[in-house]
Amino acid sequence: MSDNQMDQGGTAEVVAAADDGHEDREPDVRFTYANERTFLAWNRTALALIATGVAATQLLPEFHIAGGRQILGIPLIALGALVALTSFRQWKANESAMRRGLPLPSSRMTAVLAVGIGAISVIAIILVIRGSK
């Protein structure tokens, strides 16, 4: 992150932009592309979560626990939708920060994704141990 800020050409210029907080200028095109690829990577993650959630309800055998497949599939799809929405917000926030020469904003999405997948794994383990036919 700090490398990105340092490399944006003309350190003095960046500092001046950060001071008034509003100066808007086109960032190094490499960073624009990098931001775009990050957005796309999150979007693919979202799509994978959605497809996995739907596939879980379709391909898995039924569990003893009623609605077991839905219990597994719905959180996956909801997490996918959340990731898709927040990835767009994050892309916009990053792009704005780069244009103003400000530090890139931090994102909670990595933590949310890790905790979400961890929680869904626990649900899956419980379903497999307790609910398999």
Partner: protein
């Protein structure tokens, strides 16, 4: 807008790390993921009968279409090589909206009604 070469000279060094090419590949991978996700969803909602099935397929189809329109819009930005920064908002907004539509379609029709 006229086409021009991408920014290749930075601080006197010629190295853009093949950013445009890598980004194009990322779009390709993502497009493939959309096709797979839409395929899984369409397969799931296919069994729904009557108007419910038609609505479900329409939501999945429109979601994928919106995503691909966003991809096309971003490609236009790349081809012109104008600095696109925040003007890409439109394209990425469409991509995010398409993904959320696929999620909603999957949630409502694939899981809640079709499960």
């Amino acid at each position: 807008m006229t086409a021009r070469e991408p920014q290749r000279i930075i601080d006197g060094e010629i190295d853009d790390g093949l950013s445009p090419e890598r980004t194009q590949l990322a779009w390709g991978r993502s497009g493939l993921a959309v096709v797979v996700a839409a395929g899984v969803l369409a397969r799931r909602v296919w069994s729904l009968n009557g108007s419910l099935g038609a609505i479900a397929l329409a939501i999945v189809g429109i979601g994928a279409l919106v995503w691909l329109i966003g991809m096309r819009a971003s490609r236009r930005l790349h081809l012109t090589m104008e600095p696109h920064g925040l003007t890409g908002r439109h394209a990425f907004g469409l991509v995010a909206t398409g993904t959320v539509m696929l999620a909603l379609g999957g949630l409502i029709f694939g899981v809640l009604l079709g499960g």
